[in-house]
């Protein structure tokens, strides 16, 4: 795989030298073809400023249920783009519930926080979620009865390289086999998607989420006892389009690790 990356990178370099946009890790022109987009299955908080759609994709065969949440911070565009693509999946087995714009107000403002602060600090395990939006989101997640949840987020730096940032990392809950799945998924994506000439961009597995911080993933691990993952793709030297592709690839690997298989292979 590394050799394939090297060859692909070499071709990209040659293309650049010739003035051709030969792309090392995907160009906007090579994104997935626009599939038919099904409408939302339902909405959270209809008739309010927070109204946001929920998409449910049913696989041909029965299987686990996964929930994917984007836009929990409104300015983390790659996660929102990736969630938009997740709702266009075809599933071989299982059920996928996608909420691409969890904090719609923040997404529309392009800010981290919405009307009532940071949405991802309103899910203290063992307690009622702190705001009406957080409660509505949590109720919908509980109704979905997930076997795994992932939040699609981004950060400005590189985990372990820039000590103040958590980009390019997956943070699994301590619940279930989340840590093992995260390790396998990051290794696969590092091998297949991260170019050799961006070695500091390799994804890492962060510390397991213990279940006591007020983040959505902590609450899933702590209150539901189910695996959850925070996917943090970096914005450092990576535009939103490439970030969305890497986020989507990680989500594919993580959800496959929990038994949710796409029809016709991955992205």
């Amino acid at each position: 795989m590394r050799r394939r990356q090297f060859i692909r990178g070499g071709a990209a370099a040659a293309g650049t030298a010739l003035g051709v946009s030969a792309v090392g890790f995907g160009s906007p022109g090579t994104t997935e073809a626009a599939p038919s987009t099904p409408g939302p299955s339902d909405t959270i908080m209809p008739g309010t400023a927070h109204e946001t759609p929920v998409y449910v994709i049913e696989g041909a065969e029965s299987g686990p249920t996964a929930v994917a949440v984007g836009g929990i911070h409104g300015d983390e565009r790659s996660g929102i783009l990736a969630a938009d693509r997740l709702r266009e999946w075809d599933l071989a087995a299982g059920r996928l519930v996608v909420i691409p714009r969890a904090n719609r107000v923040a997404v529309e403002r392009d800010t981290r926080e919405g009307e009532h602060g940071d949405l991802n600090r309103q899910f203290t395990p063992g307690r009622e979620p702190a705001t009406e939006l957080a409660r509505a989101l949590w109720d919908r997640i509980v109704e979905a009865d997930p076997d795994v949840l992932t939040t699609l987020q981004s950060s400005k730096g590189l985990y372990g390289t820039h000590p103040d940032f958590v980009g390019q990392a997956v943070f699994p809950t301590a619940a279930g086999d989340a840590v093992t799945v995260a390790e396998t998924a990051t290794a696969t994506v590092n091998d297949a998607a991260v170019p050799w000439y961006m070695p500091f961009h390799d994804f890492r597995v962060g510390h397991p989420l213990s279940g006591d911080a007020p983040l959505l993933s902590h609450k899933v691990g702590g209150d539901l006892g189910e695996p959850a993952h925070i996917v943090e793709v970096t914005e450092y030297l990576l535009d939103d389009e490439a970030g969305a592709r890497w986020t989507g690839r990680l989500a594919t690997e993580l959800l496959a690790g929990h038994g949710l298989e796409r029809a016709g292979g991955d992205a």
Binding site: G9, G10, A12, A13, G15, T16, A17, S21, A22, V23, G24, F25, G26, S27, P28, G29, K156, G157, L158, T161, H162, P163, D164, F165, P195, W196, Y197, M198, F200, Y236, L237, L238, D239, E241, A242
Partner: protein, 97 residues
């Protein structure tokens, strides 16, 4: 040509000669292109990538409150220093040849 004129020309060659300009461009242009649009990130950006990432890692350790874009300034300065060194090595190699 006077000694003063020759010294000025030597200094110009040392700090802004063609070899320096080419080395600086090789370090910076591919990375800047890749940073503006990931579609243009290629192996040519690797040297600049190392300089910026290692520099920003040290900077983030020392000054955690600074945003990472700040490190483009020391990156440009470091690339210029490296380009002067590379230009000097190139001219020395040519002189030796």
């Amino acid at each position: 040509m006077s000694a003063d004129t020759r010294t000025a020309a030597d200094l110009r060659e040392l700090f802004a000669g063609p070899a320096v300009v080419v080395a600086f461009a090789l370090l910076t242009v591919p990375l800047v292109a890749g940073a503006l649009d990931s579609a243009f990130m290629t192996p040519l950006a690797f040297p600049g990538y190392l300089v910026l990432t290692i520099g920003s890692a040290v900077g983030n350790l020392l000054f955690p409150n600074f945003a990472l874009w700040v490190y483009w300034v020391p990156f440009a300065m470091a690339c210029y220093g490296l380009a002067v060194i590379a230009g000097g090595v190139y001219r020395a190699a040519r002189g030796a040849g």
